[in-house]
Subunit: 251 residues, 2 copies
C-alpha cells in the first residue's frame, strides 16, 4: 500500500502530546499546503489564528469546555470563515461587496474547513497528531472576544496540533455502505439501521458507556448525556446571534 | 520533498477529464479513506451520493449552472449533512434525538466537508483530478429533489472526479501572511490589502477579466459579475428555507 493510503486509513485522533515543540518552519510549511486547498472562486475567504501563547490557551480553555488538549498542545489553530479581508479589498478598489448574508457565511465556512482538513492531513503525514474541537461552533461568541475577531469573521473549527505521546487504537466507523448512496438516497429501514450500528453498539467501550451513564442503549448516551437537545437549541440560538452580530444575516 | 507535500503544494483543480472510467474498486478504496476523517463524537452525520448515471448527471447539470464538469466527469459526488440516519438509530433504540436545529446542521456540514476534502486528497494522490462545485449551496432545494434527500439531509458540496485530460497552471494564492494571524486577529489596513492582493491584480488573466467585463478593477469583476449581492441574497433565502424544510431550524 502507498504511504498516503496507509496514513489516511490508519489515522487516529491524538489527544496527548509530547512537550516537544512544533517548529515554526514546519508549521509554516503545513500552512502553505493548507493554503493550496480548493477555495470558492479563488477568494480564500478564511483566516487561521495560531495560538502558541500559554496565557491565550488558558483564556481559550473554558470556551472549549476545558478539554485538556487546548492547554497541552503546543499549537492551537482556529479556522475562521472570513469575508472581512475580501470586503476590505472590494472597498479599496471601488467595488461594493455583497457578502453580508448566510450564503456567503456558508461559502466562507466551506473554504475554512477544506483548509483545516488539508492542514490536518499534511500534519499527520509528517508524524504530528491532531484533534478537532467541535466546541468552536458552541462558543463562537466568546472565542470572537478572546481572538478579537472583527465583523465578517466567525470561528468554525479548532484543531490542536503536536507530536503524539499516545498511540490510541483506531475507533470504529460505520460500514462504508451505510454512508454512501448510489444515484439517489436509499432511506434506511429498521433492519438496516440495526445492522449498520451493531458493531458500534457491541464494542466493549460502548457497553461501558451505557453502564457508567445508567442508560439502556448507546443511542441514549448520545441524546441524554453527550449531545442533548437543550444544549443544542441553546447553542443554536447563540450561533445564529453570532452570525447576525458578525454581519452574515442581512438578507 | 516527500510525495504528500509535493502533491499538496502542486495541486490544481481539474475541469477536463479523459473518458477513462474510474473503477469501482478504486472509488471504494478512496471512500474508505474519506470515512476515516475526523467526525464529531464519531457520529458520522453525513452521506455521500455517488452519481455515475448519464441521465442523472443531465438532471443535475442545470442545478450546477451547466458547468460541463457534471456531465463530463465519470463520477460526481454530492456530500450531504445527514442527521436522518443517526435520528433513525436513536428512535429505534428508545432515544429522543434533539438534532433538528442549526447547531446540528453545522456539525453535520463540518463532518461532510472533512470527509469531502479527505476524499479529494486521497484521489489526487492516486493521480485523479477533482473539482469542487460551489453551486451546491445555491441550488440545494432542487438537488434535494433530484437526489431524493429526505428530511434531515442537506447537500453541502459537490465534487467531480476523473482522470485528468489537462494540466492547468497553478492559480495564484494570497501570500501566507495574509491569511494567518498570531494570537489575535490583526486587522488589515489599506496598505496591507494593496500589498496582499497585488499579485492577483497584476496577473495577465486578471487584466483580461477586467477588460472583458468592462470594469475598472478586479474586485468589481467579483462584486458586479461573478458573486453579486442580489444573487447571494436570493440564494441565502432559498438555503435558509431549505434548512427549515429539512428540519434544521426548530429552535
Amino acid at each position: 500500500m502507498d504511504k498516503i493510503s496507509h496514513i489516511l486509513l490508519n489515522r487516529s485522533t491524538i489527544r496527548k502530546y509530547s512537550p516537544q515543540p512544533v517548529e515554526s518552519d514546519l508549521l509554516t510549511e503545513l500552512l502553505e499546503m493548507a493554503s493550496r486547498a480548493s477555495t470558492t472562486g479563488n477568494m480564500q475567504v478564511y483566516s487561521i489564528i495560531i495560538t502558541r501563547d500559554a496565557e491565550k490557551k488558558k483564556e481559550l480553555s473554558p470556551l472549549h469546555f476545558n478539554q485538556k488538549m487546548i492547554t497541552e498542545a503546543p499549537v492551537v489553530l482556529t479556522f475562521c470563515a472570513d469575508f472581512n479581508r475580501f470586503n476590505k479589498w472590494c472597498l479599496l478598489r471601488k467595488a461594493e461587496p455583497g457578502y453580508d448574508n448566510f450564503l456567503s457565511f456558508m461559502t466562507a465556512s466551506i473554504d475554512a474547513l477544506l483548509a483545516a482538513q488539508t492542514f490536518c492531513i499534511a500534519a499527520e503525514a509528517k508524524g504530528l497528531g491532531i484533534c478537532y474541537l467541535g466546541t468552536t461552533t458552541y462558543m463562537a461568541h466568546k472565542i470572537i472576544d478572546v481572538l478579537r475577531l472583527p465583523k465578517g469573521v466567525v470561528p468554525v473549527t479548532t484543531v490542536t496540533v503536536g507530536w503524539p505521546s499516545e498511540k490510541p487504537d483506531q475507533v470504529d466507523r460505520l460500514p462504508l455502505e451505510a454512508i454512501i448512496h448510489h444515484e439517489t438516497y436509499s432511506d434506511y429501514n429498521d433492519e438496516m439501521i440495526a445492522r449498520y450500528y451493531r458493531e458500534k453498539e457491541e464494542r466493549s467501550d460502548s457497553v461501558q458507556f451505557i453502564k457508567e451513564n445508567n442508560k439502556e442503549t448507546l443511542a441514549q448516551v448520545f441524546t441524554d448525556v453527550r449531545y442533548k437537545k437543550g444544549d443544542n437549541v441553546y447553542f443554536s440560538n447563540m450561533l445564529l446571534e453570532v452570525l447576525k452580530q458578525q454581519g452574515f444575516m442581512n438578507q
